[in-house]
Symmetry: C2
Subunit: 448 residues, 2 copies
Amino acid sequence: MNNSVELPKANNAQESVAKPQNIGIGLLGMGVVGSGVARVLINKADNLAEQAGFPLILKKVLVRDAKKQRSIELTPNLLVTHLDEILSDPEIDIVIELIGGEYPAKEYIERAITNGKHVVTANKELMAKYGYELLTLARKHNTDLRYEASVGSGIPLISTFQQDLAANQISAIYAILNGTTNYILTQMTQEGLDFSAALKQAQGLGYAEADPANDIEGTDAVYKLAILSSLAFHTKINPQEIYCEGISRLQAQDFRYAREFGYAIKLLAIAKVDADTIEMRVHPVFIPQDSQLAKVDGVYNAIQVEGDLAGNLIFHGEGAGTLRASSAVIADVLAIARNIRRGVNNIPEVRLNQKLTVKPISDIETRYYFRLNVVDRPGVLAQISKILGDNSISISSVIQKENDLESQSAVLVIMTYPSQEKAVQRALEQVAKLATVKEVANSIRVEV
Amino acid sequence: MNNSVELPKANNAQESVAKPQNIGIGLLGMGVVGSGVARVLINKADNLAEQAGFPLILKKVLVRDAKKQRSIELTPNLLVTHLDEILSDPEIDIVIELIGGEYPAKEYIERAITNGKHVVTANKELMAKYGYELLTLARKHNTDLRYEASVGSGIPLISTFQQDLAANQISAIYAILNGTTNYILTQMTQEGLDFSAALKQAQGLGYAEADPANDIEGTDAVYKLAILSSLAFHTKINPQEIYCEGISRLQAQDFRYAREFGYAIKLLAIAKVDADTIEMRVHPVFIPQDSQLAKVDGVYNAIQVEGDLAGNLIFHGEGAGTLRASSAVIADVLAIARNIRRGVNNIPEVRLNQKLTVKPISDIETRYYFRLNVVDRPGVLAQISKILGDNSISISSVIQKENDLESQSAVLVIMTYPSQEKAVQRALEQVAKLATVKEVANSIRVEV
C-alpha cells in the first residue's frame, strides 16, 4: 500500500451529500431510566448539540398511557402510544429502547432496525439472549445497535472490551454485577442482619423491587455476565449455560464465620477460560477480606478483568440509578450521532468466532466452606472426615462452634482445599445421611 | 433531515478505491515499552490481522545503535538509525513514538504528522505540554494522534473521557497516577520503612529509576493530571499551573500518626472544578483508611472520576510495565487500522473550549495535619492554638506524643478543620518562630 490510503478529509463528498440539520430521537419507555434519559436530552441539549455537531431532538416518546402523570413534563404531543408513529417518522434516526425485558422489546428493536433506525438499548436480558441475532440483523440493515448501559450502568465496559482491550487475550472476569444483592450482602455483613430483614430494607430504600427474584436469584447477574463473556472471549454465550445460585439461603451465621476465617461473602459472576473451555458461574462466594472485590460495598458494582497485556484491571462504580444508566445511553447516542455527522460507517464489529466448550459445573474445582449442624458427640468429625477423604476432599481447617449442651448439638465449620464439584456434592449427600449429622446447613464456594 | 442520512455501507466506494493490503508500522524507540510493543506486534500478528482486517506489519524500528544487543530478536534490516528512513517510507502508515521525553520526540512526532503518518504515543510529558498543539497539527494534516498509554498505562482512560463519559459534566478527579511513589508509600505504611530505605527497595526491584526525581517529586503525576484534566474539563492545561509537592519529606512517624487517626498517606493528583475555576494539585495527602483510594497498594494506579450522570467511578490497574503500556499502544494502533480499512475519518475531536481560571494554591481550602517538635512545657499548646485561631484555623484534634524527659521535648500532632492555604502557611511561619517550637516537622493536607 502507499500513502494514498489515508483517512478521508472531514469535509469529504459523502458528508456534504446529505448534511443533516439535526438528529431525531425516538424513546421507547418512560420508566425510571427512560425519564432520566429524556431529562438529560432536554436539560443538556446545548452541550450535546455542541458535541454531536447538531441538535439531538427528542421527537417522540412511546408510552402505554399518554395521560399518566409523570415526573418529567414533556410537550404532550411528544407522547405516542403506537410504535408505528416512531418507525414511520423519517425524522427519527435513533431509537432508544428502555422498556426492558423480552416482550415486546425484542420485536420493537427488530422493527426499528429493519426500518433503518439506529438503536440504543439498556436491555440486558435481550442482549444476553439474542445479542448475536440482533447485532447481525443491525449489521445487515447497516444500522448501529449499541448497549453500553446493559451492564454496569454508567461504568464503561462494552466499549472497553470492544476497543481498549482489543489487543488482550482475556483469561478471566470476576465481577459484582448486581447492586441490589451487593447492598443486601453488605447489610448482612455490617449490621448482622438476616437475609429477609436486609431484603426488606433494600426494598424500603428502592434498591430492590417488590418482586426481587431476578436480582436475588442471580438471573440479572447471569445476563450481564453473558454479555461481558461474549465480548471478552469472542464467543456466543447462551445465558442458560451459566451456572447460577442466588443469595437467599445465606444466613447471618455464615457471615460471622466468614469474617472469622478472614473472608467476605459476595455474589460473584465468574468467567474463566482455560485453553478451549470456558467456565461461567454466578453464586455466592467467600473471598479474602483484603481483596479489592471484598471492599466493594452497597449498591456499587465492580468488574475485574485479567488480560495478558493490561494485567489486572478493576472498573468500579454505581451499577444502578436513573442518571447512571443515562450516562451510558447518551454516550451511545453521541457515538452514533458523530458517525452520522461524519457520514461514516463505524459500527463495532461482531467477532464471535471463538469456539469454546462450556465446562459443566460438576467439573469445576473450588475450595469450599461447609457449615454442618451435628450431634455433639465424640467421633462425629472422624465420620465426616472419612467421607470427605474418600471423595478426595482435603480439609484445610475445621472449627467446632456453638456447642449447645441442652440439645447436645454443635456446629462444625469446615474449609476445604480445592475439590471437584461433583465430589463435593456426592460427599455432602453422604454426610447428610449420617445419623450424627442433623443438617448440612450451608455450603459456599471459596475463591482466592 | 430524513432517512437518507444513514451510515454508508461498509463496502462503500471510498474503501474500494484504495483497498490496502496491510498496515505498515514504524516504531521509534526500543526501550522497555518499545520492546514490549514490538514483541506483541510479532507474537500476536495473526490475531491483530484478524481484528484489523489485514496484517499490521512492523516495517522499521528507529534505534540509536543498530548493533546493540536486545532482549528481542528483530530481523536486522528492520533497524534504522535515521528518522527519514521511516518518514520517507510510503509503506509506513502509523508511527509509534516510544522514545519519551521532549527532545527529540516532539520534533519526530511533528515530522511524522506533517509527512501524513498517523501517530501513536505513550509520551505523557509531550502530551501534557504540547497536546493541544500536536492534536491541532494532526487534525490539520488529517492524521490521527492517539495517546491512550500516556496515562495509567493499560487502564483505559483517554477513550473513556473522549467517548464514554462524553455526556457527563465532570466535577472532580482524584487519582493515584504514579506507581513508583505508590509502591514507596505502601512500603512505608506496611513495613514502617523510612523514605530512603523504601526508595532503595523500589530501585532494587526496578520500580524506581536510578534518578527517581520525576517520580518522587510528583512531576510524572503532574503531566498525567494535565492530560486527564484537559480531557475531563475540555480546557487547555499548562502543567506548570499545577501545584506540586513530592513525597521525599514524609517520615515514618507521619505514617504512624496517620494510622492512629484513621488515615492512609497517598500521593494524590487532584483536579476539581467549581463554576469557572479549576483547582489542580499533586501532593501527599491523608485520606481515610476506608476510602477506595486508600486501599490501592503497590505499583497500582487508580483514577476516581466524579460525573454528574455516571456518579463516582474508579478505574484501577497496574500503571506501569512493559506489557501494560503495550495494551494501550496496540489498542490505539488497532483503532487507526480499523479506520483506515473502513476508509473513514474517525479522528477524536479536540474540544478545549472551556474557559476556566486556575485557582492559586494559596486560595484553596483543605484540612491539615501538622507535626510539631516542641519544648515539653505547660502553655506551649496555648501559644500555638492562639496563632492558629488568630489565622482562622480551627483545630479538630490534638495529641501530645513521645514526650522525651531527657531533651524536655514532645511531639504535638494537630488536625485542623478546613482552612485556607495562605492562612495555614502564615500560621506555620508564626508557629515556627515561637521559642517553644523546635521544628514544624511536617504539614500534610487532609482530604475526606
